[in-house]
Amino acid sequence: MSINIQFFASLRELLGKQQTSLDYSDGLDVAAVWQQASNGAPMPDNTLCAINMEYVKPDATVNDGDEVAFFPPVTGG
């Protein structure tokens, strides 16, 4: 299994990719997922994170098969 990672809006443009995946390993949190998936690029201030469509903080634990998403502050409506 693996972790599916999604980037949206300005973060998609910043990293040049919408989607990637990582092999799962024990003890992974959202911040570590960002670090690996972004090839070490720093996470911009105010980045929002979600696991399986629910907002989480960067220290949230990731489980095998999860979808992790990163995006900037929202501007709908």
Binding site: Q6, F8, A9, S10, L48, A50, M53, Y55, A69, F71, P72, P73, V74, T75, G76, G77
Partner: protein
């Protein structure tokens, strides 16, 4: 209490009428409060020719469906409706519609505002405007 995501222009008044005719019982509600957000042709003192509204499809639908549920738990309502565009949008076109039906006006007004404020604060959409100077992501500080 659905949330509907559309990639084409919609008429908010038709949506209200259609949903009300199909899902609400005449005489059971006494107040209908609605909010319609439309695209301006200006922002930060610049003219805007059009914009693209990006979203995170699965999470956006999940968030808005949950928002309707939370709203119905928080207020005394007959029903709620949210319609939101995504994709390319032109000035003057509706972007969002929120509606709350209740027995009395206070609950309808409050619920309609709650839907809109929660949506603005947390629903995963991102606006990118096109101006004479090029494209730019919109920052939500208004």
């Amino acid at each position: 209490m659905p949330a509907i995501l559309l990639d084409k222009k919609f008429n908010p008044w038709d949506e209200i009428q259609r949903y009300q005719d199909e899902h609400l019982q005449s005489g059971h509600f006494g107040a209908t409060a609605s909010f319609v957000g439309t695209m301006r042709d200006f922002n930060i003192n610049e003219s805007v020719s059009h914009m693209t509204l990006e979203h995170y499809p699965a999470m956006t639908q999940h968030f808005l469906d949950n928002l309707c549920d939370r709203c119905s738990e928080k207020f005394e309502l007959n029903d709620t409706l949210i319609v939101h565009r995504f994709g390319e949008i032109m000035p003057g076109e509706p972007i969002v519609l929120t509606v709350a039906w209740s027995a009395h006006r206070a609950q309808a007004f409050d619920a309609c505002r709650y839907l809109m404020e929660e949506l603005k604060a947390r629903a995963p959409f991102w606006k990118k405007e096109v101006t004479d100077e090029g494209e730019r992501w919109v920052h939500n500080d208004q």
